[in-house]
Amino acid sequence: MRITCPHCGERDVGEFAYYGDATKHRPDGSSELAAFIEYVYPRDNPAGPHRELWYHVGGCRGWLVVNRDTRSHEIFGVETAHDRRAEGARNAVAANP
């Protein structure tokens, strides 16, 4: 498996550390306990496309969001976590102007 880092280009998976499901978002500190339990423990764990966080520890040390098929390991796209966060913030503003 090879991951194309937006900063460094195509690299061997051994350069990257895996963090997991990228659709999880840490709740606000004032949230109910149930929101934190939901954040920490359950997973959708899909057999198919999966958005996930990888850390390019052997390269630029950037955090990446990789869209990958868990059945075949085929990678559909890679973006930086920074871009995802900016997109999330824009969506939040659009939903709650």
């Binding site: 498996m1 061997d12 998976v13 051994g14 895996y18 997991g20 499901d21 149930a34 339990i37 920490v40 423990y41 359950p42 997973r43 959708d44 764990n45 057999a47 999966h50 996930e52 990958r68 868990t70 059945r71 075949s72 390991h73």
Partner: protein
């Protein structure tokens, strides 16, 4: 037919013409008292103990593939009970006790071999940790011996004791641990369950679980709807997918674990050895092949195959520990799907849905648990109450904070 020395001799005289298939291939009935989803080791042992311990024989095991096609045929065959958490030790020790009597119980040669499991340590701190684990085991009545380097040298003389980075200081030894012929476990339990009336339905994929008003009513399968008074899920590796059919989300990620077999060589390793400076374990099969493995690959996967970085790591650890096997060739390697739970320990519990029971989250250690998993899951299904050995393996422990965090790595499955 009951297997014995006499049956082998009499068959030999008849030219081995009298052997029968060891289980039936029935068509599904319309309704069962219990349907077990998943015909792996745990599902088959559950069905067997439902029949034997609880008198429930109107039971079906539904399996998507064929018996032995999943993780029961993909593991590295090791049995042991050298755990360190209260919620785990009595369970795995009960499992080891069941292994010790299994072959007589199911009248099947599973080649249970108590050749010992040796966990090496490589520093003073690791020796302290090994002593603590060994003492914890002994307080629970489990056998454990702390060996110094000379005792390890007597046991396994060909290890690399003076590795500059990871010298071997000694090991924690569990003499009653060992290996079992894994395929024979599946076949033996299948035969024993079938003999007691359990229907084993192969090539019968479950495509849905019918739930109405919070009650599970049965399973939709490739061979039609099967009504069930109770349904037990024992499909580790795919638990999230199957549980999702009933609307459940589990604290589980599926990961791939690779394993390896070398070409056959003369007797070299007569115990099971784990490397303490990494994650590596090795034993030798009775055919002579070295059977070994290491860490999971570390990312979500349903592919049943892994990638090269873990293979490289495993080979490095193999030759660091056993320089003499450096020229051996790997004969084959493969991957299996692991239900990685969020605290590294399994779940045997009821679900929020009536009549639906859950057995999952076995992480990288499901094989050794096969007998006790079936024993305790059968108890749960039949009695509607947890067996005492599995009482801590609850689904709600993640919300209540009563985790069984054996490795102390938290909710990060690729670190377990």
């Amino acid at each position: 037919m009951r297997y014995s020395a006499f049956s082998i001799l009499s068959q030999a005289l008849k030219g081995n013409t009298g052997w029968k298939p060891v289980w039936r291939e029935p068509e599904p009935k319309a309704e069962y008292d219990v349907v077990i989803v998943g015909g792996g080791g745990h599902g088959l042992s559950t069905a067997y103990y439902l029949a034997k311990n609880h008198g429930l024989t109107n039971v079906a095991v539904v399996e998507r593939g064929y018996i032995g096609s999943g993780n029961i045929g993909r593991n590295t065959t090791i049995i042991r009970s050298n755990y360190g958490e209260h919620g785990n030790i009595p369970f795995y020790e009960w499992s080891l006790k069941l292994w010790e009597g299994l072959e007589q119980d199911i009248n099947y040669n599973a080649m249970v071999s108590q050749r010992g499991v040796l966990n090496l340590y490589h520093s003073d701190a690791q020796r302290d940790a090994a002593a603590r684990r060994g003492n914890t085991m002994r307080m629970h009545g489990v056998d454990a011996e702390l060996l110094d380097v000379e005792e390890v040298r007597k046991l396994v003389p060909n290890l690399n004791f003076d590795n500059a980075r990871f010298p071997i200081y000694g090991g924690l030894f569990q003499p009653r641990g060992g290996t079992v012929r894994h395929d024979a476990v599946a076949w033996g339990y299948a035969r024993a369950a079938d003999t007691r009336g359990v229907d084993i339905l192969q090539h019968c994929e479950v495509t849905g679980i019918r739930v109405e008003n919070g009650h599970a009513l049965g399973v939709e399968t490739a061979k039609g709807f099967i009504k069930a008074k109770k349904i037990g899920l024992a499909c580790a590796g795919r638990s999230s997918q199957v549980a999702a059919m009933a609307g459940l989300r589990l604290p589980i990620e599926s990961h791939v674990l690779q394993a390896f077999v070398s070409e056959g060589v003369k007797p070299l390793i007569d115990t099971v050895i784990t490397f303490g400076a990494g994650h590596f374990y090795i034993s030798q099969s009775d055919k002579g092949g070295l059977v070994f493995g290491g860490n999971i690959d570390g990312y979500n996967s349903y592919a049943q195959r892994g990638n090269l970085p873990v293979i490289e790591e495993v080979m490095e650890e193999a030759v660091a520990m056993f320089p003499s096997i450096g020229r051996l060739r790997v004969l084959r390697h493969w991957g299996g799907l692991m239900d990685m739970s969020m605290d590294g320990s399994p779940i045997i519990d009821k679900t929020p849905i009536d009549n639906l029971y859950l057995n999952c989250g076995w992480c990288i250690g499901g094989f050794k648990a096969t007998p006790a998993s079936g024993w305790c899951f059968a108890h749960l299904i039949a009695q509607d109450a947890s067996h005492e050995a599995a009482a801590a393996m609850r689904l709600d422990r993640f919300a209540t904070g009563r985790l069984i965090n054996e490795s102390g790595t938290g909710a990060q499955p690729n670190l377990h």
